[in-house]
C-alpha cells in the first residue's frame, strides 16, 4: 500500500505542473474563463479518489474526466444557456485587432458547436489525440468520433469564413 502523504504529494505536483495546460483545454471546451476554471477544479477533485491507481500516468484519465464533465455539465445547464449559430461580427482594424477578432470568431464558432462535437474538435485538433484516444476519452465509438469531427469541421468552415485553410491544413 502506498504512502498517503506521497500520494497526496504526487497529486499536488501534478496539479502545479499541469493546471495551466488543463485550463487551456477547458477554456476551449467551455468558451468561458470562469467555467473553464470551475471545470478544471471539478475534474481534479473527481480524480482524487482514483489517484492511487492513476498516479503513474494520470494525464489520460484527467483529460477523460475533463472532457466528459464538460459534456455532462452542458446537459445539466442547457436549459439556461442560449447558444447561437451566428458568430459575432468581425471587427475591422489593425492586425492586433484583427487577431483578437479572429480569436473571438473562432471562440464563437466553437461555442456554436454541440458540446460533444466541440470536445471532439478540441481533443483531436488541439490535444492531437488519435481517433481511438478521443473515442476512449469521451466514451464513444471511433465511428462517432469520425462523423463528429467531419461535421464539426464543416461547421467551423461555415462559421469562420476566412478560415478556409482550416479545411486544407487539418
Amino acid at each position: 500500500m502506498s504512502d498517503p502523504d506521497a500520494t497526496r504529494e504526487g497529486f499536488e505536483e501534478f496539479v502545479v505542473a499541469r493546471r495551466a495546460a488543463l485550463l487551456r483545454t477547458a477554456y476551449l471546451l467551455t468558451g468561458d474563463h470562469d467555467d473553464a476554471e470551475d471545470l478544471v477544479q471539478v475534474a481534479l477533485v473527481k480524480v482524487v479518489p482514483h489517484w492511487r491507481k492513476i498516479a503513474d500516468r494520470p494525464e489520460p484519465y484527467v483529460r477523460r474526466v475533463l472532457a466528459r464533465e464538460s459534456v455532462s455539465r452542458w446537459r445539466r445547464r442547457r436549459w439556461r444557456e442560449v447558444t447561437t449559430a451566428e458568430p459575432p461580427e468581425t471587427p475591422a482594424g489593425a492586425d492586433e485587432a484583427g487577431d483578437a477578432a479572429g480569436r473571438d470568431l473562432l471562440r464563437a464558432a466553437l461555442a456554436a458547436l454541440p458540446p460533444r462535437q466541440r470536445a471532439v474538435i478540441v481533443l483531436r485538433y488541439y490535444e492531437d489525440l488519435t481517433e481511438r484516444q478521443t473515442a476512449e476519452a469521451l466514451g464513444i465509438a471511433v465511428g462517432t468520433v469520425k462523423s463528429q469531427a467531419r461535421d464539426g469541421l464543416a461547421r467551423l468552415r461555415a462559421l469562420v469564413p476566412e478560415a478556409e485553410e482550416v479545411a486544407t491544413t487539418v
Binding site: 476551449l28 476554471e37 488541439y126 478560415a163 482550416v166
Partner: protein, 461 residues
C-alpha cells in the same frame, strides 16, 4: 500557413491571461476526499435502503406463507370450516406429505409461469393445507378422496399405442393412479389405449377401499376424421381394491347394462340407472342379484342407497309452492317398496324429508338412515355446507361449512371421519404471488440502481 491546431492554441492561450486559481492545491485534495466519502456514503445509504425494501417484501412473503398447524395432540378429524385456499400454497414436493386427508379441494394452482387445475389436501392431523403434487396427472385429473382419507385416485396421461386424441394440445388420459398422502407413494395402472380414454364419468369410491373406474375408448386420434375423434366406444368397467396392484373387471352384467352407475353410500354397492324411472341396486359381493326399482317421482339426482341397502334417498326435482324447485330431500326404506311380482321392478315412493330445502346432492351416509347432503345457503356468494339429515324425522345438523361457490373451490370430505366430531379449523396461509414478489424486488432493484446513477451524476464535488 495557420493550422487549426495553431488557431486553437492561440485561442487557448487566452486562458493564461485570465488564470485565476480559486482553490489552493491542498484544498483540492481535501475536497476530493470529502467528495469520495460523500459518494461512498450515499451509495451505501441507497443500497441499504433498497436491501431493506427487498427484505421487507421477501419477509412479508415468507410471513404470509407461514403455516400455523394445529397443536400437537389435537384430535384427528374433519375441520368444522373449510377455507378457500390461496393459489400460491406450497406443494407436497416442497412441504412434504400431509398424512391422512380430511378434505380434498379442487381449485386453481398458480405459480410464476401460469395457472393450472390443482388439488389442495387438508391434513386430518394438523389441518394444514398443501397442493398435492400428483405425478403424471392428466390436465383434468378428476381426483377423488377415499372415504377414510387415505387415498386420492386420479386420471393420468401417458403415451398411446396410436395417434393421441388431443384437445387443445393437451395429452389424453391413458390410466388411473392411487396417491397415498401419508407416504406420497403412487401406484399407477396404465390402460392400453390406441388414442386415449374418454372420461365422461368421475372416478368413484364404491367402498372405503374400492374404486370404480369407468371410461370409454376414443375411436380416432390426430389425423383421423372428426367423427372418429369425437366418438368413443364402450370399455370394461373396472374395480380397484387399493390393496391390489391392479384393478379387475366389474363382474355384474347389471352394471354393464345400465345407462350409468353411481356408487352409493361407500358401502360396497352401486346404483345403476336404466331409464328415467328405473334403477337397480347392486351389491358388489352379490353382483348377480340386483334389486330393481321403479319410481314415478321427478328426481334431480340419482337415488343413493344407504349402508346395508336399508334406505334410499335423493333430491326431489319437482316444482314447489311457487313453481320453484325447492330441492327437498326425499327418502324411504327400501322395505316400503311394493313388489309387483315376477321380474318387474318394485315400485318405491320417496316422501319428502320435513324441513329439508336447498340441497344439491347426497354425498354419503353417516349411518343406515342418516344422509350427508350438500346444500348452498345465502345465494351465489353464500356458504356451501355439509349437513347430516336423519331421513326418519328430518333432524339436521350442520357438520362442515365450506367456502362460497363464488371462490371456485370444490371440496370433498373424508366421510368416514365424520363419524367423529369435527375439529377446530386452522386457517391456511395466504402466500404472496411469486410474480408480485419478484416484480416488487425487481422494481426496487431497478429503482435503486436508477437512483444511484442519478445521484452519483448529480452530486457535486
Amino acid at each position: 500557413m495557420t493550422t487549426l491546431h495553431d488557431r486553437l492554441a492561440d485561442l487557448a492561450a487566452d486562458a493564461d491571461a485570465h488564470a485565476d486559481v480559486r482553490e489552493p492545491v491542498h484544498v483540492l485534495w481535501d475536497r476530493g476526499r470529502r467528495y469520495h466519502r460523500l459518494r461512498r456514503g450515499g451509495t451505501a445509504a441507497i443500497v441499504v435502503a433498497a436491501l431493506a425494501v427487498v427484505g421487507g417484501v421477501v419477509g412479508t412473503a415468507e410471513l404470509r406463507a407461514d403455516t400455523t398447524p394445529a397443536p400437537a395432540g389435537s384430535p384427528v378429524g374433519v375441520p368444522e370450516r373449510i377455507f378457500a385456499p390461496s393459489p400460491y400454497l406450497e406443494g407436497t414436493e416442497d412441504g412434504g406429505s400431509l398424512g391422512r386427508l380430511a378434505v380434498l379441494l379442487s381449485t386453481t394452482r398458480s405459480g410464476m409461469w401460469g395457472s393450472e387445475q390443482g388439488y389442495v389436501g387438508v391434513s386430518a392431523a394438523t389441518g394444514e393445507y398443501r397442493f398435492l403434487d400428483l405425478p403424471d396427472a392428466a390436465p383434468d385429473p378428476g381426483a377423488v378422496l377415499s372415504p377414510d382419507g387415505s387415498v386420492v385416485a386420479y386420471w393420468t396421461s401417458g403415451p398411446t399405442q396410436d395417434t393421441p386424441n388431443t384437445i387443445d394440445g393437451e395429452p389424453p388420459v391413458t390410466g388411473v393412479a392411487l396417491y397415498h398422502p401419508d407416504t406420497g407413494d403412487v401406484v399407477r395402472h396404465d390402460i392400453a389405449t390406441e388414442h386415449g380414454l374418454g372420461i365422461e364419468t368421475d372416478l368413484d369410491w364404491v367402498a372405503t377401499d374400492t374404486l370404480l373406474v369407468r371410461f370409454t375408448q376414443y375411436a380416432g386420434g390426430e389425423g383421423d376424421s372428426e367423427m372418429d375423434r369425437s366418438t368413443s366406444g364402450a370399455a370394461p368397467t373396472l374395480l380397484w381394491d387399493v390393496d391390489e396392484p391392479d384393478p379387475r373387471p366389474a363382474e355384474s352384467r347389471e352394471v354393464r347394462r345400465g345407462f350409468w352407475t353411481e356408487p352409493s353410500g361407500h358401502a360396497g354397492q352401486v346404483v345403476t340407472v336404466h331409464g328415467e324411472r328405473t334403477f337397480s341396486v347392486v351389491a358388489l359381493d352379490a353382483p348377480r342379484l340386483p334389486r330393481r326399482y321403479r319410481t314415478d317421482q321427478v328426481l334431480s339426482t340419482s337415488v343413493s342407497a344407504g349402508p346395508g341397502g336399508q334406505w334410499a334417498a335423493a333430491v326431489w326435482g319437482g316444482p314447489g309452492d311457487r313453481g320453484r324447485n325447492p330441492n327437498v330431500l326425499v327418502g324411504a326404506p327400501f322395505s316400503s317398496a311394493s313388489t309387483l311380482g315376477g321380474e318387474a321392478a318394485a315400485r318405491i315412493d320417496l316422501p319428502q324429508v320435513p324441513g329439508s330445502r336447498r340441497y344439491a346432492e347426497v354425498v354419503g351416509w353417516l349411518d343406515g338412515s342418516t344422509v350427508l347432503a350438500r346444500a348452498r345457503r345465502g345465494g351465489y356468494d353464500g356458504r356451501t355446507v355439509l349437513d347430516a339429515v336423519d331421513l326418519r324425522d328430518g333432524a339436521t345438523g350442520e357438520l362442515v361449512v365450506g367456502p362460497p361457490e363464488g371462490t371456485g373451490a370444490r371440496w370433498q370430505v373424508a366421510t368416514d371421519l365424520l363419524r367423529e366430531p369435527t375439529v377446530d379449523a386452522v386457517e391456511p396461509p395466504r402466500p404472496m404471488s411469486p410474480r408480485l414478489t419478484a416484480g416488487l424486488t425487481g422494481l426496487t432493484v431497478l429503482g435503486a440502481a436508477g437512483a444511484l446513477v442519478l445521484w452519483r451524476r448529480r452530486v457535486r464535488p
